[in-house]
């Protein structure tokens, strides 16, 4: 069967870097996290997790489910965590080597509503939306890996597994789930990942699946999330923990206070994984929000709140683990000025602080609403920043002194061979400055919609082998029978 090549990835490779927190601040934040873990503790309503904590020296109150972890135990557990590792793709050419030199970006997730690709009407999301967007993501070089972007709500009990199925069938890229919660679901997901990898060894060396688990602010871990994470970690699949502490409601109304509450949640979860599986690949993700003081609403992008995203990256590195950075979040209701303004800054600063991974392109309304063209628009912004961060070529060819001398004052460069050779190498957006037949330029949003349609018409990534498809179906049937 004919299929389309998936274009090579284009991660952001910053040529220069930025430090936001100084060493003193990093030390103070780390010691505050350690103090919270030791003095205040974490709520963890999982018998299984509590036992692991207790066996490794944490002080566990089984009645209240509060775990207090002495600082030296935290530090000792975190010493096992690998700083760098690989997240595998279906094809090795698209593996993500987290080596501190590149930032790979993923789609957003997990939305619950969609502006329908055909009718343009708003409706609940379904498995087909996950599949369609996976195909768009497969085509876009800016997307390094895929978060199932919306919920497969047409499969209520086993939606996370169907999201995984839709993804594997429509992109060769690494898939990171944010919804597989609970031990049973996790075991099915690991089976599916094993089918994609082909064998146990490959699955551990180039894991095609990873999982992100949200903590519950303040200072609580989710039972199903943590038990799921343990299953994946035991199978060698990367797991990460995200805090979405909300300044003013589930976190103190100061930025530093929000940071340490969130960091303590993440570190408590990472420590548990290292206790259970020393050396398991883990990652850190701090994506706090802020409470609107008038309405209590969650804001993904208050003026100064987004500073916390690159700060999260520095905290992750200070703990010696890779970061999943918060990028592209917007509270906008539709693509436009607000969504673009929100997107740009956080991506640049997260790239310059050295984030290894980031999510998420493509959603609006605080990560809940999928607009088909938004992933194309976000991808354009990604490329602007990728090029901005790439630095300047000052080689003799780029300086072109002989050409300048030849042209001299009052001349023009149009006829120079150097111009012919180099002007086309410059990158121009295919959304902006596109001439309209009636003069002026075409609307970038309209062009983005057209581009999404064109990709969906023409791009069909390499399919899974028939045996793999069959095996995934078998696993899904079993899961549906057991869990639905």
């Amino acid at each position: 069967m004919a299929f389309s090549e998936t274009p090579p990835l284009q991660p952001i490779k910053p040529a220069y870097h930025l430090r936001i927190l100084n060493d003193d601040q990093l030390r103070t934040l780390k010691s505050s996290t350690l103090e919270i873990l030791q003095e205040t503790g974490i709520y963890c309503p999982s018998e299984k997790c509590l036992r692991i904590y207790a066996e490794h020296g944490a002080l566990v109150d089984f009645a209240t489910c509060i775990v207090k972890i002495p600082a030296e135990i935290v530090l000792s557990a975190m010493r096992h965590a690998p700083r760098f590792y690989t997240m595998g793709a279906r094809l090795e050419t698209h593996d993500l080597r987290l080596d501190g030199k590149s930032l790979f970006c993923a789609t957003d997730g997990c939305g619950v509503e969609v502006i329908d690709f055909v009718t343009r009407q708003r409706r609940p999301s379904c498995k087909e939306d996950v599949a369609i967007t996976a195909r768009l993501a497969d085509f876009l070089p800016s997307i390094g890996f895929y978060w199932p972007i919306v919920s497969a709500q047409d499969f209520p009990a086993t939606a996370p597994l169907h999201e995984l199925d839709a993804s594997y069938n429509n992109t060769i890229k690494h898939v990171q789930s944010e919804t597989i919660m609970g031990e049973q679901l996790a075991r099915y997901a690991v089976e599916m990942a094993r089918v994609i990898a082909g064998d146990e060894l490959t699955m551990r060396a180039r894991p095609p699946l990873s999982l992100l688990v949200c903590c519950i602010a303040p200072l609580s871990l989710d039972r199903d999330g943590m038990e799921s994470a343990l299953v994946l970690a035991q199978a060698g699949l990367p797991v990460g923990f995200m805090s979405m502490a909300n300044t003013g409601s589930t976190a103190p109304a100061t930025l530093a206070g929000t940071v340490v509450v969130g960091d303590a949640e993440i570190v408590a979860a990472m420590v548990l994984i290292q206790m259970a599986c020393p050396g398991a690949p883990i990652f850190h993700s701090l994506m706090p929000g802020m409470m609107h003081p008038h309405t209590g609403a969650y804001l993904a992008t208050a003026w100064e709140g987004t500073l916390l995203y690159p700060i999260g990256v520095e905290l992750a590195h200070n703990w010696g683990v890779p970061a999943l950075a918060g990028i592209f979040a917007t509270d906008a209701h539709a693509p436009g000025w607000q969504s673009a303004g929100d997107a740009t800054s956080s991506l640049l600063l997260c790239a310059l602080t050295g984030a290894e991974t980031g999510s998420g392109l493509g959603l609006l309304e605080s990560c809940t609403l999928l607009y088909p063209e938004e992933i194309i628009l976000d991808s354009d912004i990604h490329d602007r920043i990728r090029l901005e961060a790439a630095g300047l070529d000052t080689s003799p060819t780029a300086l072109a002194l002989d050409v300048i001398k030849l042209v001299g004052p009052r001349g023009q460069f149009l006829r120079q061979r150097h111009t012919r050779e180099n002007l086309r190498r410059r990158s121009f957006s295919d959304l902006t400055a596109q001439p309209a037949p009636s003069g002026g330029f075409r609307d970038p949003l309209e062009l983005a919609r057209e581009k999404a349609t064109r990709i969906l018409e023409t791009h069909h990534p390499e399919p899974l082998l028939p045996a793999q498809k069959k095996e995934l179906n078998r696993i899904l049937n079993l899961a549906d029978n057991e869990l639905a």
């Binding site: 409601s249 997107a343 300048i404 009052r410």
Partner: protein, 483 residues
């Protein structure tokens, strides 16, 4: 500070980004010196050619091309002051250019205005300049004012009328981008002297400055350079702005375009230092691109890297930089494009440490004024300003006692610490204004309301009547002589 004046809010950040390496900066500077020595720059001004020849430049009177020996450039660049003051009409708004502060201005000089009354686009006029000066005066994000549009209702003396409208409607420093030629410059100098009160005060804290565009490739504008000489002699800051377009008036490689634009700026700067050693001069380079399909001028292609490399090049020469922000190619405000293109600008320019930056508020590649664009650009600016501030890490902000009191699974709403800090922690953007339906309102609609509110409520202190009369007299004389 009087009640109708808000303190300025410049970008201040301890973070520094080095875009170019030291070696690249040396390479670029050496390329500039090479161009000045081997290729030269055309000065179509007898006055300038005479000064250049007298000071050791190699002048070909016939072609008007001037070549600058390397040592000569370095000798005169050594006179440049690294920092200086740009005075406000009110001393509270003096801008003391120094390390760590970045002041932004409006954009200029557009030619069309969207009229709120008629809901139609029309040619710009002097009243628009005054109206926007009043809005700029109100906004703490605006450190100084570029007359945003052309006073096209005043023909040849439009630049002086723009200055007049600026002085009447803002306490802040006014920087012109249109006063070209010796005679208009002398009138502008007279007007600025009226505002400052004396020539001595004008030299100490000049209420006015000028930016002059060079012509790519490698030409100075006769009127521009002769106007600049008048101002430099009086101690008024002048800056030179190169706008090389890659592929048409500059090489199609960025480093070549930067070196060539830099050569234009440095040749003009050297001339100023020959005329008035120690004269305050700033550096500005805004490269653009030619669309290979249409030849159109593009400010923001996908690959717009190096937009702030010229800031580092200016500093490498020991000069303050006028950074280039905003100026979207979008036809109107509120579009995806009008944020996607410039939103990165204030971050990058703040991180590279430009002293002054243009310019907020115009659409359609610096030509079209929608007043609300200034409010929306200011919102993007404020995001950057907060983003680039340090985070306070102290016992009070860490709030460990409060965290201990709340514990796992609680909430912070009932805490005194939350009541104390919540309002200061949430800086509301124009995007987070709740409408009657409980949803966030359209940012553009909120911005238009803010424009109307400022115009209805903010009136800067008027100039005293003697100064008003004197400005009127100077303008009348200029209209009679030049108009």
């Amino acid at each position: 500070m009087p009640a109708n004046m808000q303190p300025l809010e410049p970008l201040q950040t301890p973070f520094r980004l080095r875009y170019l390496t030291e070696q690249q900066l040396d390479q670029l500077q050496s390329a500039t010196l090479d161009i000045l020595e081997r290729t030269g720059v055309k000065f179509p001004s007898d006055k300038s050619l005479k000064i250049l020849a007298e000071h050791g430049a190699l002048v070909d009177q016939k072609t008007q091309i001037v070549r600058f020996p390397r040592d000569l450039v370095l000798k005169y660049m050594a006179f440049l002051p690294r920092y200086f003051t740009m005075g406000g009409r009110d001393a509270n708004y003096d801008l003391h250019l120094n390390e760590g502060k970045t002041y932004f201005t409006t954009d200029g000089c557009g030619v069309e205005t969207f009229d709120y009354k008629t809901r139609a686009m029309r040619p710009s006029c002097k009243e628009d300049v005054g109206m926007m000066a009043r809005i700029a005066d109100y906004l703490p994000s605006i450190g100084f004012y570029w007359p945003m549009v052309s006073a096209q209702d005043h023909g040849l003396t439009a630049p002086l009328h723009e200055l007049d409208a600026g002085y009447h409607n803002t306490h802040k420093h006014v920087q012109s981008e249109t006063i070209m030629g010796e005679a208009p410059a002398r009138y502008a100098l007279e007007m600025a002297t009226v505002i400052n009160g004396s020539r001595e005060d004008l030299r100490r804290r000049p209420s006015f400055s000028l930016v002059v565009c060079t012509i790519a490739p490698l030409i100075q504008d006769k009127e521009g350079i002769e106007g600049a000489i008048v101002l430099a002699e009086a101690g008024v800051p002048v800056g030179f702005l190169a706008m090389p377009t890659m592929g048409t008036t500059a090489p199609a490689t960025l480093a070549g375009a930067l070196a060539m634009g830099d050569a234009e700026i440095i040749s003009a700067t050297v001339l100023m230092q020959m005329v008035a050693p120690g004269a305050p001069v700033f550096h500005s380079l805004m490269q653009a691109w030619a669309d290979p399909s249409s030849g159109n001028y593009v400010s923001y292609p996908l690959d717009a890297r190096g937009r702030y490399a010229p800031v580092e090049m200016a500093h490498h020469w020991g000069m303050p930089a006028l950074g280039a922000c905003y100026g979207t190619d979008s036809l109107e405000p509120g579009t995806w494009q009008s944020a996607a293109e410039p939103a990165l600008d204030p971050f990058m320019v703040g991180l590279t440490g430009a002293e002054i930056v243009t310019g907020m508020g115009l659409s359609h590649t610096y030509t079209r004024l929608y007043p609300e664009q200034l409010i929306m650009d200011a919102d993007l600016y404020q995001r950057a300003r907060y983003y680039l501030m340090t985070m306070e890490v102290s016992p009070e902000t860490l709030a460990l006692d409060t965290i201990q009191a709340v514990g796992p699974g609680g909430h912070f709403l009932a805490q005194k610490h939350t009541r104390l800090h919540m309002r200061e922690s949430m800086k509301r953007a124009i995007t987070h204004q709740v409408g009657p339906d409980g949803k966030y309102r359209q940012a553009r609609e909120v911005a238009i309301e803010k424009v109307k509110w400022i115009l209805a409520n903010h009136y800067p202190e008027p100039l005293d009547s003697a100064k008003q009369a004197e400005l009127g007299r100077i303008l009348a004389a200029a209209d009679a002589e030049l108009g």
